[in-house]
């Protein structure tokens, strides 16, 4: 082969100008005077990342920093043509990195999916474990923060103190519908009136449920516009209204 190169033995910082030859399946590293410095079996060789038009070779079983460096496009091409094992190992290394990247991406996607879909699924179960007192405290904190941000410290103005007014009844229905859930420990939100626990809405055939949807003959809710909103079986306040 007779290719010029530079050799670092990885034990000291000395650099040697060497000649490289390929003999009997091994890379032979020759000093300037022709003496053999080292012989690296081709099967142990691998290329480490380097800059353009440079090839840095290392070998298994040698010191970590031991390198043979070949510079120049032609010399690099000659070495690569003589040592096809380098191409194969580079291909294997690339494959390993791709597999690692894909595996890590799939794992991250799984974590994101668990967050997007798993948390809502668990929320219904987790909420039953949350102490009512903590919820109450959280609600009060949120109300205070909202009051502070919306009113700039001046306090929220009470618009309507009549609990039976149309607006307050609408708010109460909304609050009850929001809290409507099986086995719910608490239905109170600080500052909002919710005089009674909401009764679960039931769907009787041909009548509207409390969620303003009509019930069909099978007793299931539909969005039929023909259903009069006054024909309620139950209301969030427990009062049965009739058309």
């Amino acid at each position: 082969m007779g290719i010029a190169g530079r050799f670092h033995d990885g034990l000291t910082a000395q650099v040697h100008a060497v000649g490289l030859e390929y003999v009997a399946g091994a890379l032979v590293i020759l000093a300037a005077d022709g003496t053999e410095l080292q012989r690296w079996p081709a099967a142990d060789l691998y290329a480490v990342p380097s800059r353009k038009h440079e090839l840095r070779l290392a070998a298994n079983g040698k010191p970590t920093g031991a390198r043979v460096v070949v510079s120049g496009r032609e010399d690099v091409a000659r070495v690569l043509a003589t040592l096809p094992v380098l191409h194969e190992k580079r291909r294997q290394q690339t494959g390993r990195e791709i597999r690692l990247a894909v595996t890590a991406t799939v794992a991250l996607a799984a974590v994101i999916s668990a967050y997007l879909y798993g948390v809502p699924l668990l929320a219904g179960r987790i909420v039953g474990l949350v102490p009512p007192a903590w919820e109450q405290s959280l609600g009060e904190t949120v109300a205070r923060q909202m009051e502070a941000s919306l009113s700039e410290g001046g306090g929220l103005e009470l618009c309507d103190n009549d609990p039976t007014s149309l607006a307050n009844r609408a708010i109460a229905r909304f609050g009850a519908a929001t809290l409507e859930a099986p086995a719910r420990p608490s239905n109170s939100i600080s500052g909002w009136s919710s005089p009674t626990s909401p009764t679960p809405s039931r769907c009787r055939a041909g009548r509207c449920s409390s969620s303003r949807r009509c019930c069909n003959r099978r007793g299931r809710r539909t969005n039929s516009p023909a259903c009069s909103p006054t024909r309620w079986v139950t209301s969030p306040t427990g009062t049965a209204w009739s058309s």
Partner: protein, 404 residues
């Protein structure tokens, strides 16, 4: 130096990389960030470092970066063990009263500032331990906690003294970093002190104070800082001029610190000399600004063409109708996707230009301004064992304080 040389001359450091090569690597990397949900950044960081290291040549032999993306990924995952409890703490603080939240967030901010010092030192340790030159590995000793305490303590003093203690802080931290650095079995030395930084710092400090005060005063007089309404053009021009002058003074000090502190680094009989000029630094920022403006102009033209085709109704009649555009946005997934993609392009363009002109620019300036005397004395440096405990600057990555 190759055997046979007879006379020692200062050996210049040479940088052989090109902006085109780095730009191609970065573009490919940014594209691959999308299908990998951002995870490719560990591979991109690794490739970037290999580019910088392998193109920095000292006496015919380039540096070599031996780190891998896997190490960075593992380090980041370990750092999450620190941040997940912190995020839990943030959530808990958000449910408390305003006073408790402010107190809590302030405490966390102080903790993060302290941790940044630890992260910076550990990140440097990792990068040094993954650096070879002529087959010999560098390393860093010392204590990351000790460095973090030093940095934290000095920063408190700097705050208390309104910045006047900064030269002492800078010299102390440079000294700690370099006196705990190793090349093989040879320890680095550092001869720098605050005295080398004092004059350029205090000159810049006084000048910035004076220009800042004068600028604010003139801008106020020219109605550039109104309490309501729009500022005057003259006032804005005065503020911009003052900001530009202050920027130049900051670059002046930065160039002096880099030059003098790097020139105080020694490795036995080998001595490093670095010259970085303030005008060169300013030139990098100017080129960066022009490149960014150019890229944003191109993206703006492209964006108008794309939006004109997907939201043509908003551009009917030759004028832009915001109301129709917002309606289209709400009703069309394609338009929304185009907006999101456009945002990513803007962000990507900024990152690309910053890396190509500021990151690469600074590296080239320092490398090309560096020379080393006494290099032959390094031939006898022996190898030390590899630092196997490092997983890869996860905390620095998570806190976004790593450089290069």
């Amino acid at each position: 130096m190759v055997w046979g040389a007879t006379e020692e001359q200062p050996v210049p450091v040479v940088f052989t990389g090109t902006r085109r090569e780095l730009g191609g690597m970065l573009l490919r990397g940014y594209v691959l960030l999308i299908p990998t949900i951002g995870l490719y950044r560990f591979w991109l960081t690794t490739r970037k470092r290999r580019f910088y290291w392998s193109n920095t040549e000292i006496d015919g032999d380039p540096l070599e970066y031996t780190g891998s993306a896997m190490q960075l990924l593992l380090g980041f995952l370990m750092a999450l063990a620190v941040f997940v409890p912190l995020y839990g703490l943030f959530f808990y603080l958000s449910t408390q009263s305003s006073e408790a939240a402010i107190f809590g967030y302030s405490g966390v901010a102080v903790l993060l500032w302290f941790l940044m010092g630890y992260a910076l030192y550990r990140a440097r340790d990792f990068r040094l331990s993954q650096t070879l030159w002529r087959g010999i590995r560098c390393d860093q000793g010392g204590s990351a906690w000790g460095y973090a305490l030093r940095r934290f303590g000095w920063s408190l003093l700097v705050i208390v003294t309104a910045g006047l203690a900064y030269p002492f802080m800078a010299a102390s931290l440079w000294r700690y970093r370099y006196r705990n650095s190793w090349y093989g079995d040879r320890q680095f030395g550092f001869t720098g002190s605050w005295k080398q930084l004092a004059r350029p710092f205090y000159v810049a400090y006084l000048a910035i104070t004076a220009i800042g005060a004068a600028g604010l005063g003139l801008a106020y007089a020219a109605d550039g800082l109104p309490t309501s309404g729009t500022p005057s053009v003259e006032g804005v021009v005065v503020l911009l001029l003052a900001a530009a002058l202050i920027g130049m003074l900051v670059l002046y000090y930065q160039s002096r610190e880099l030059s003098r502190m790097f020139s105080a680094v020694q490795l036995g009989e080998a001595k490093l000399t670095v010259v970085v000029r303030a005008r060169s630094l300013a030139g990098q920022y100017l080129v960066f600004g022009l490149a960014l403006a150019g890229s944003y102009f191109v993206l703006a033209v492209g964006g108008l063409i794309v939006l004109g085709s997907v939201a043509s109704g908003a551009f009917a009649g030759g004028e832009f109708d915001l109301a129709i555009f917002m309606q289209t946005l709400q009703g069309s997934f394609v338009v929304l996707l185009a907006i999101i993609f456009g945002y990513l392009l803007l962000f990507g363009a900024f990152s690309l230009m910053a890396e190509l002109f500021l990151g690469l620019g600074l590296w080239k300036l320092v490398a090309r301004g560096a020379s080393i005397t006494g290099l032959d004395s390094l031939a006898s440096v022996g190898a030390r064992g590899e630092d196997m405990a490092l997983a890869g600057e996860g905390l620095a990555d998570a806190l976004n304080v790593g450089a290069y």
